[in-house]
């Protein structure tokens, strides 16, 4: 299973970038919680470090497994992640009014995060098996249906952000495979007709989120406040930032969720435009590298997997940063590698590990 030759293809700079981002995440979480009032909050960066450690192990494990094995178990892994989604609805630990976590041995796992990877694996495997599926609507029924099922299960938790994310990922992978826009037309029109229904189906606070995005003054203490404070925090960083531990706006209780969804604001306040530039460039590097790996694949499954993972990373980064910068309604999507969140970190690093895996073995087949 482990071949010396693989080492020569091990991309050290790729791994260095990932580790660097994870470390930056830990540091930023630490700084974000220096003003926290509970000792529990203050210790979160230590938990993140623990998760990062697990993530590293996961990354290495993902490198070592042959992707023939991945291919074989793709459906199984997807089945398991769907089962976990059902499980969390039934018995999940509640936090912040949502049922998102399952507790194992003192650690809280978020099945919706693992479902992202599961979905990518499933779609990659399915379209590798069914080469013609992309050509007509009938072939699309199953993958789109199952993807919608995942979205629904996640939406029930409720987790609007991740549900949308799953939808975006599916859409992007279909487009990647050559889904023609023409075929999309009836769907778009149908979706447009369904929108009022969707509006009704959304929960109160989810509707409020969208309304507040359009008019932040509607909710001065909640989402509107978030957006206002986030912009102040980001903007006040200026060109070079306020410096380490000096991000007063975002450290104070004025920016709730500062160590999770809004961690980018903390970063921006501390390190300014320069810091943001570096971080965004690193993300861009990771994403394009991922697509490069996909392009160089001779194997369809691997190519789909690689592009799926890269898409996943790209969409999450874009959604989160646009939200923090006030360009998008507040949806709960963590920033990969930087936000506090064990499952997100773990899943991202697993995905990166898979990319490395594909990259290392591209000459083996």
């Amino acid at each position: 299973m482990f071949d010396r030759r693989l080492l020569t293809h091990f991309d050290w700079s790729f791994v260095a970038a990932i580790l660097g981002m994870a470390a930056l995440g830990i540091l930023t979480i630490y700084s974000a919680n220096t003003m926290a009032t509970s000792a529990f909050r203050k210790s979160l960066y230590l938990r993140q470090t623990l998760w990062a450690g697990m993530g590293m192990v996961g990354l290495i494990a993902a490198c070592l497994v042959s992707y023939r094995t991945l291919w074989r178990f793709a459906y199984v892994i997807f089945g398991v992640s769907v089962a976990l989604l059902v499980l969390v609805l039934v018995m999940g630990k509640t936090g912040m009014g949502a049922q998102r976590w399952i507790r194992i041995a003192g650690f809280a796992f978020q099945p919706s995060e693992f479902a992202k990877l599961g979905l990518v694996l499933f779609l990659a495997r399915y379209f590798d098996d069914q080469r013609n599926a992309i050509r007509d609507v009938r072939g699309l029924l199953l993958p789109v249906g199952l993807s919608a099922l995942c979205m629904l299960l996640v939406l029930k938790q409720p987790d609007l952000g991740t549900a949308l994310l799953l939808g975006f990922i599916t859409l992007s992978m279909l487009l990647m495979l050559g889904l023609q826009w023409r075929r999309l037309m009836p769907v778009i029109i149908g979706g447009g007709a369904l929108a009022p229904l969707l509006w009704v189906a959304l929960k109160d606070y989810q509707r409020r989120r969208i309304l507040v995005f359009l008019n932040p003054d509607l909710d001065p203490l909640g989402a509107g406040y978030h957006i206002a404070q986030s912009k102040i925090a980001v903007g006040s960083g200026g060109a070079f930032g306020k410096g380490w531990l000096a991000a007063s706006q975002s450290q104070l209780n004025f920016l709730p969720l500062n160590h999770t969804d809004f961690i980018f604001a903390v970063l921006a306040e501390q390190w300014g435009f320069l810091g943001c530039l570096v971080v965004l460039l690193t993300y861009f590097y990771l994403i394009t590298k991922g697509f490069q790996i996909a392009r160089d694949c001779t194997d369809l499954f691997a190519a789909l997997l690689a592009s799926g993972i890269s898409t996943m990373l790209a969409i999450q980064v874009l959604i989160n940063t646009t939200m923090v910068l006030g360009l998008m309604p507040v949806v709960g999507i963590p920033l990969p590698l930087l936000s506090y969140g064990g499952s997100s970190l773990l899943v991202t690093m697993l995905g990166m590990g898979l990319l490395l895996n594909i990259h290392m073995r591209r000459f083996m087949y």
């Binding site: 990647m176 001065p220 209780n253 790209a314």
Partner: protein, 615 residues
């Protein structure tokens, strides 16, 4: 995963799309950078100014806690507005001068004020509570010296008030700031320091309903922390009101009758399980928790050997003494070991082998049947009856009546008491002996019960054999009147005891009050059934003069015997004979319940639909 030569290779299909994807991502990132440029470079100075000199602050507006009322709507716990003094440490630019000024106004030592200010060290932007409930003179003084007190502000906040004095303090509980230890725990991670929390009793168990939802204000403040303008405000949502099953009249009567005593009085409706009154002494003044207690004050309360914070009604346990004889009698009647005609002789003592067991009455009671033995609480009769009935049967019946298990009030930890667990003789263990049975028959030795358990037991005797779950909360209602939750009586189990047995026991208990040891509980016109009990704290002869080692006095009762509507248990710690000290307390409670202006006779106001006690 094959490479099919007929279909295009993956790279042929995907590459152009991948390139498109990368292009799209690139454009998106570029847009992000442009936005960042706008926010940070072009508008950076403006945002920087917003973040330092003119600031947005969110201040919580505390929600008023819900009231706690008795079953008729009489207010037991409410709120009153107090003016509280806060400091935002970051804005107190000259802490020493400010401390000196405040010390003068508040008439407190400078060192104490300085210490309070220093507490906010790691949270300089959080308002810190310095003093609660300023009087008018202090408020005026603070307002006058505003300019000398940067970072100091006055806020009106709701504080708990107790219009009925401190009655039922142990049951109601108290409210105080969330403490350091609690803040460390994950379940309290969203609590701010200084936020109030129900810490005991009903206030704690139902805190989630009572506390409401805080609102907040978005305020723009200047560099000195003074509010420049109110940006917006979110109104708080008041907590819900809790209607207890307690009847204030009966509670007050019980409190008054128990003045100067230690122990507990509990009254319950035996047909529903509703607690009508609950007294636990020694108690405490809930108002003292409204102010922040110093660490020393806390320690003093925690270390107090009399345990004023404990609710003795269900958290303390004692030997039941002669009250347990009812269990022996019932066990005997059910198994056939005893009949109403069973007679034993009592010369004042009893020999089991070489060991002598005394009766409390020197000279004895003569020969008695079962009823007389209960009425006169004859120990020697029950020594013999207990041996005849057997420890297993006795224990089985006791367990059926709920002794040995926590009653399930849901107000916190409950004493479970303990029942005998007879083991045969084994190596190293002496095993259960007849002597143990003799002692257990009069409710001493290995038998221990909480007052609540005995109350449930008596209620089951009174109502014909059903154990109800005791409960204190009748209803939870929002401020609008909308009922959020209503609690109904919950029968836990029905005992398979012959109705004749229970009827006999009830009659015997009537005799206890009419002619027997419980005569001090008699109320003219009301047939009351009862049983006295005296639980030894130390063995006879040892330190009997010491007041702390005096026996505990019990009295359990129910009334009226033919249609019981109230059951009462009284436990006077170190009070002496139950018939002497506990029975009169029960009498006062019954008088309050059935007297001329009793709650039973009360006309209900038309708009409150309340069941009569006994409905």
């Amino acid at each position: 995963m094959s490479v099919d030569p007929v279909l295009p290779t993956p790279s042929q299909t995907l590459t152009p799309r991948i390139q498109t994807a990368v292009l799209c991502v690139g454009i998106a990132f570029l847009a992000l950078l442009l936005r960042l440029w706008y926010l940070q470079i072009l508008e950076g100075d403006r945002f920087f100014a917003l973040s330092t000199s003119n600031r947005l602050r969110v201040r919580p507006v505390e929600a008023p806690r819900g009231f706690i009322l008795d079953r008729h709507g009489e207010i037991l716990v409410e709120n009153r507005p107090t003016f509280d003094l806060f400091a935002t440490p970051e804005d107190v630019v000259n802490p020493d001068e400010v401390a000196a000024t405040l010390a003068g106004i508040l008439r407190a030592p400078v060192a104490e004020i300085q210490a309070r200010l220093a507490e906010g060290g790691d949270r300089p932007y959080q308002p810190l509570l310095i003093r609660k409930d300023l009087d008018e003179q202090m408020m005026v003084a603070v307002e006058e010296r505003r300019l000398d007190l940067p970072g100091i502000s006055l806020r009106i906040r709701p504080t708990r008030a107790y219009p009925s004095g401190g009655i039922a303090a142990n049951l109601l509980g108290y409210v105080s700031e969330v403490n350091q230890a609690q803040l460390q725990r994950e379940e309290f991670q969203d609590f701010r320091p200084g936020e109030n929390l129900g810490q005991a009793g009903v206030e704690r168990r139902f805190d989630a309903f009572i506390r409401g939802i805080d609102g907040g204000e978005q305020v723009e403040v200047d560099a000195r922390g003074r509010a420049l303008r109110l940006v917006s405000r979110l109104e708080p949502r008041s907590g819900s009101n809790i209607y207890l099953t307690i009847d204030k009249r009966i509670q007050e009567a019980a409190e008054a009758a128990f003045a100067g005593k230690k122990g507990t009085v509990v009254a319950m409706n035996p047909t529903t399980g509703e607690i009508l009154a609950m007294v636990s002494r020694p108690s405490y003044d809930p108002n003292m928790f409204a102010q922040r207690l110093t660490a020393e004050e806390w320690q003093r309360i925690a270390d107090d050997a009399t345990h004023p914070l404990q609710n003795r009604a269900f958290q303390a346990q004692y030997p039941p003494g002669s009250v347990f004889k009812l269990m022996v009698a019932i066990a005997g009647l059910e198994s056939g070991a005893l009949t109403p005609e069973t007679k034993f002789g009592c010369p004042g003592y009893f020999y089991l082998g070489n060991v002598r067991f005394d009766d409390w009455k020197k000279g004895g009671h003569g020969t008695l049947d079962l009823r007389s033995a209960i009425v006169n609480s004859c120990n020697v009769y029950f020594y013999q009856a207990g041996l005849k009935v057997g420890i297993e049967e006795m224990t089985r019946v006791a367990r059926a009546f709920g002794l040995g298990d926590p009653p399930g009030l849901g107000l916190g930890d409950e004493a479970a008491g303990s029942l005998p667990n007879p083991q045969p003789r084994r190596r190293g263990q002496p095993g259960w002996s007849a002597g143990n049975t003799v002692v257990a028959s009069i409710g001493q030795g290995p038998v221990v019960t909480s007052p609540m358990q005995l109350l449930s037991m008596v209620s089951a005797i009174a109502n014909g054999g059903t154990i109800y779950r005791p409960f204190v909360v009748k209803r939870i209602a929002a401020l609008s009147g909308e009922v959020l939750d209503e609690y109904e009586p919950e029968p836990l189990r029905h005992l398979s005891i012959k109705p004749e047995t229970l009827a006999f026991i009830r009659q015997a208990m009537l005799g206890v009050v009419n002619e027997g040891t419980g005569f001090r509980a008699k109320v003219p016109g009301i047939p009351i059934g009862g049983k006295t009990g005296t639980a030894q704290v130390v063995r006879k002869g040892e330190g009997k003069g010491n007041a702390e080692l005096k026996d505990h006095g019990w009295f359990v009762s129910f009334a009226p015997v033919d249609n019981p509507q109230i059951a009462v248990v009284v436990l006077v710690e170190n009070g002496g004979f139950g018939g002497l000290v506990a029975a009169p307390v029960a009498k006062a409670v019954h008088e309050a319940a059935f007297g001329a202006r009793s709650p039973f006779a009360r006309q209900e106001p038309a708009d409150i639909k309340e069941p009569e006690i006994g409905d």
